[in-house]
Subunit: 283 residues, 4 copies
């Protein structure tokens, strides 16, 4: 049985040897270890994958002992994940379909190891795609008047389906503090620029106006500050004076879908940790 | 004899056929033509290289006829350049040496087809490198008190040596309007970020703080607005949480020198045209 | 009405001015011109887009005059295309679905301006996807025994549906001379390596074995020589020792689908010309 | 005092916890750990940086105990390096100067933490550059007749100056088995193609001939098989039909120097390990 342990604490001497010694003493074989120390902040991060022979591991007992001996000693924030559990992911969309198509085709192919209990949209345009891929689709219009009610409906669905994290696949609405508080560092957005350049609306227009030679896309966790959350993944592509705004948008679509998918995969594989509004991305 | 003609005017029907017909009628063979139309601004750009048999071309006569028949008709801004003239380039530096080393080694190798009459610096640190490459070095300190005098000295030297364009190779001073007015779209700067992200001072620190996954460098023509002039060339490289600010700076150095050299070459080959604070970069 | 003219001939003086003059004399406005001269081979290539006011253009008459005055004079191979005609594209697949999903979602979104009359496969695995996107699917098994019959069936379908070009979207069969002869430079393949490295079977395994730090994908026109046809588009992504063959394959999938789509778009927009087993790709 | 330990052995349970426990018990603080398991080959690799308080570490005693308790137990190949020792690097060149300029300017700037006791060349062309940077230069002509003698001279110099590793900075000669045996995985070459494509002579010509859209450079350790040694670093840049062979060469120069420098730095920082003709490159 494979386990993934994520650890976050103040940097101190002996953590690695004590944690790996603990795993070893419980009959686990370490198959992957990546660690990072932020020297300025004096913070230690570790991701550790171990393999235990079948049935050898009593999870609640393991957790209790880990906390008693290591968690307390080093004042760790830590979590244990079993590779057998499949996270539940909800997708929020508006009218653009390229990210939705990309996520759903990866999901259907088994490349993206998640459950997708439902898709939510403020428009009805993409309901056909949801149907095409056999995923329930909820059309919940959002206007200045009904924002709170729409959000109630979102929260009700997310709770009902036990959703673990949310992907905003070009969802053209600002997500409120209420939702962010329920899903801290669990809402993944794709922004169509190389952040922090061109945050906010119409980044391709702004990039065109500025005459940049490279455009980008950025996937980040959503925080209250618009387009300013911890960056998970970025990529870029070249443009020239010969490209129109329409060309920027077309080139950008391919970036957006690839960058968003990479970020979603990193999240699903628990390779991301967040602190100081930045991410540690394990290899 | 090879000539390069750059044309800029309002877009109108028949320009290409009339210009190419003119070249043809004068015994020239077109060896390269690249054109661009900005449809929003309705502006036409063209770069045209022609080959004339030896001695066939009477330059002043050619210029006069071109202006009389085409320049006037289409209300063109145009210029003719002979591939035999070598532009004079001055380099301004402060303390960082990587861009200077890169430019000078390309210059010595004959890769960069320019004359470099002198290097100017507000510090003495890099005088050894200038000496090593046999290029005159002027140490002109700049302080808040003597800014105007220093600039007088710059202008005097630039005039004396008949300098065509200036390269700021990590020159850590803001260039004043006076100099820019004398060298409009002829001062090339390298900024150590992916502009417009992180304009101003300490971009690597700002990039680190923001937690970006990609850093960049931008070469642009200097205008009065800080780090906001027409972009000539940009490039990027990936970074991760494991990189410190020192690592950002080290990785950035390689970007800066390559991006700056590319921009300088494009300028020297007269492949750049500027309008609306943007560049057209011919292929 | 927009027209695209592609020209290919020996390089000679005056071509550009004569062709652009001709367009101008017929009332056309040139909206794009890109040309290339291969100096070693002394060959001239041009792509020219012109805009004619509605109804002004008598196509057969235009073609006749163009041929009489220019085509003959310069011994050109040339073709005229109207932007109103939508090319018919057939997709051949086997069992991998990522390229098919990508092409079909671009097709459904209107991003890929083609008709797709049918999909052919030697396996039945992807028939669901065809159905999902409402495109006819023909399952034509191919074995060593029935290769000729299968090909007869392919040719029959291609003829019946009037197919203009074929996309091999990870079709794991070698296409025979017979099909290539009917579709010269009109069969687009995606090979999952950075050609010419790792031509042939199992390129990711070979790349892993060699310990490369970068993997690639290559889209090319199919010729009789395996994986050796004219290259249309290539792209790469970094890998490391930490990646397994399975990781190479997963990273490669994203490359393959993007590179294939770009090549297909270039072909559809008539931006590709082929000579000497190489391509000219217009901007 | 900082130490770097490199470990290579068969994969077994408990290695990490035992090694880190050992460091901890000796008063060391682990500041960096990166490990890799090749599951197919069942081999374990680790790079471990530790910080010991001043004077606490008795190196010979540490080494003896490490070997007695861990080295023997796990049958490790391992090595200990102190960050205070500066490796001695010799550069071999022919006539191309771009890599030499790049290495020497990084060396002079203190960016490359090595000693360079001398430069060797089979031609005299670059002696000026050596002089310019104050590095001894030995001109040792190589012909079919004197190959053995020239090599004797190389070996004599390398021994005399106690050289640790060799950089072939576009040295256009094949290095013999004799030299390779003395410097196994310690001779770094830069090949001007994206290996394994275009191994051997004139790779840019071959790339041009094949019509590739991307060219590359590869830095690798030299083995007896030509251009087939373990790859350390690769990078690429785009090209098009519009580029001539001369353009390929010019664009390639920038790749070559950057890729070679990166490889040299990785080697100097002891971030490379070699097995099965491949490299593990630590982060």
């Amino acid at each position: 049985m494979k386990t993934t342990i994520l650890i976050y604490c103040q940097d101190q001497a002996g953590i690695i040897s004590n944690v790996t010694g603990f795993i070893h003493s419980k009959g686990g074989n370490i198959i992957y270890l990546d660690q990072h120390v932020d020297k300025e902040a004096n913070v230690f991060f570790m991701r550790l994958q171990s393999d235990f022979e079948k049935n050898i591991l009593d999870i609640p007992q393991f957790k209790k002992e880990f906390e008693d001996t290591l968690g307390n000693k080093y004042n760790m924030e830590w979590s244990l994940h079993l590779d057998t559990t499949m996270p539940k992911m909800s997708i929020f969309v508006s009218k653009y379909n390229h990210c939705l198509y990309d996520l759903l085709s990866r999901y259907k192919s088994g490349e993206l190891e998640v459950d997708i209990p439902f898709i939510v949209s403020n428009h009805d345009d993409l309901s056909d795609i949801a149907e095409q891929f056999d995923v329930p689709f909820y059309h919940i219009p959002v206007s200045t008047d009904n924002k709170a009610e729409a959000e109630n409906e979102h929260l009700r669905l997310l709770k009902e389906y036990n959703v673990d994290f949310i992907v905003l696949a070009r969802y053209m609405q600002i997500v409120s503090k209420r939702l962010i508080d329920v899903y801290p560092n669990k809402i993944i957005n794709i922004h169509h620029s190389f952040l922090p350049a061109f945050a906010g609306a119409k980044p391709y227009h702004a990039a065109f106006e500025r005459g940049v030679k490279i455009i980008g896309a950025t996937s980040h966790y959503v925080t209250e500050a618009l387009d300013a959350g911890p960056i998970i993944e970025q990529d870029v592509t070249t443009v020239s004076h010969a490209h129109t705004i329409k060309d920027f948008i077309a080139k950008g679509r391919d970036l957006e879908k690839i960058v968003l998918s990479r970020a979603v995969k990193l999240h699903v594989q628990r390779k991301t940790m967040v602190y100081n509004n930045k991410t540690v991305i394990f290899s």
